[in-house]
Symmetry: C2
Subunit: 250 residues, 2 copies
DNA sequence: GCTCTTAAGCGTAGCTCGTACGCAATTATT
DNA sequence: AATAATTGCGTACGAGCTACGCTTAAGAGC
């Protein structure tokens, strides 16, 4: 009935709800084609390589043809950021919340690391893309039997998302330099720090450096690094759930 | 003695260690001037407005003059990202670790929110800028009397940094749309979700929507939103410290 | 003080990008 | 067949980064 409420532009775009037409020349592309091509380019050559011309070339079309399907490059970026979450990991249901959320966060991180450029796309609004909402739903589902009310669940999931995005921004981008040249990376970094950090201004930091944390094998192992912080956060969630359910005599 | 080890480019840049010269025309600018001007532009008009020409105009110089001080725009962005952390909040010493870290994270977030464009600058390597290291040091210092070893401290601080960066990326960018038009934001968003989310594919999410979490007053109050996740994380740190110190018979 | 060396200031120009506009080609409707 | 609607795309413009090289200014050596 109330179908006539006009949805925002981004929503109709992301859900493929743009009106289908009758008359005129047949489209030779689809929005999905363009998105896929753009993702391919970004995966292979980085987000900086994604220009309208480059994407069009990937598809064998001219640059301007794309603008019949997408209003601007920003729209294309929006599509890409939802497309990056494609492919359902299909987490096993029926776990306790902690393993559920751990698998969820790890799966999300793994997926996003396959498309590291997502961290560079500016966020333009709350999540509305189907894949984004799909992931959101799965996280909420993992919290299903915790006794938290809906608002708290959203808070927890938002916190997890916050963490995952931070992880993506920091570790992934950092480790880019690391995997290219691990030895030079850690050795040079340690050296540079010792040269520049003096114990007067940076007492705590220079203690860390003295302990040799930054020399030798810097463990920028993405897995390990992510686990640690994630574990801390989930410990916090556990404490929170306990507090909440106690108070409610659960 | 071992002063002769060549520091990486970025380090000499960020610490102002580029060789001072004798002969030739006197420089009319400094790297600091340029950085300050660029930050002004970004604060006032956003990162997109920061072009070499715009910054030069801000300083009353020509575009190409800047390239005598900075090798590329990327170098300028690097300088900006360290400059954004300027101004010591000078956290009170001698607190327990939890209030110390809470103040630290809140102070960092507050500072970064005054320069929201930092989230859009791609990270090119581990932190080496003086201000970055200064903040790092303060966080480590707050963990001084917890009995954690240096490696664990670094892990905790990295986790906090991860969280803060995620917070900056998600909430800050999101709330941009919100403060511009709060009512349209929440109302439209809730509406769009109800139109598009069906209970079959998104069972948990549609329960949340049904509970009215996204309608009405969406509480994108930055303070509150940040506190919640941060509190969860710190709860986790507390549990971690307890575990560690128990095991070591502390 | 004169000359030489070195470095700063900057105009020009080339390349890449995003995209507005308009015309030609193509297809469904009448 | 004629018409209307749409897609494909060539051209063009403005903005951005920056390589190059010339001009200008300031210290160094005599």
């Amino acid at each position: 009935m109330a179908d006539e409420i006009e949805l925002p532009d981004e929503v109709t775009l992301l859900w493929g709800l743009r009106e289908t037409v009758r008359r005129g020349r047949k489209p030779s592309l689809t929005v999905a084609d363009i998105t896929r091509a753009a993702v391919e380019v970004a995966d292979a050559e980085g987000l900086a390589a994604v220009s309208m011309a480059r994407v069009a070339a990937q598809l064998g079309n001219s640059t301007m043809a794309l603008y019949r399907y997408v209003k601007s490059k920003d729209e294309l970026l929006l599509l890409m950021s939802d497309a990056a979450l494609d492919g359902p990991p299909n987490l096993p249901d029926g776990q306790d919340w902690r393993t559920g959320l751990t698998l969820w966060a790890q799966g999300l991180l793994k997926m996003l690391r396959r498309h590291p450029w997502t961290a560079q796309i500016p966020i333009s609004g709350p999540p509305v893309g189907p894949n984004n909402l799909w992931w959101f739903d799965r996280a909420l589902r993992a919290l299903g039997d915790t006794g938290l009310d809906e608002e708290d669940k959203v808070g927890v999931v938002m916190g997890l998302l916050t963490f995952v995005h931070g992880e993506l921004r920091l570790s992934t981008e950092l480790s880019k330099g690391y995997v290219e040249n691990p030895e030079a990376f850690s050795r040079q970094y340690g050296m540079a720090l010792t040269q520049v950090v003096d114990a007067q201004r940076f007492p705590a930091l220079s203690k860390v450096i003295a302990a040799g944390i930054f020399e030798g094998e810097v463990r920028y192992d993405e897995e390990v690094e992510g686990e640690f912080g994630l574990g801390l956060f989930l410990d916090g969630v556990a404490a929170f759930i306990e507090r909440r359910t106690e108070r409610q005599g659960y």
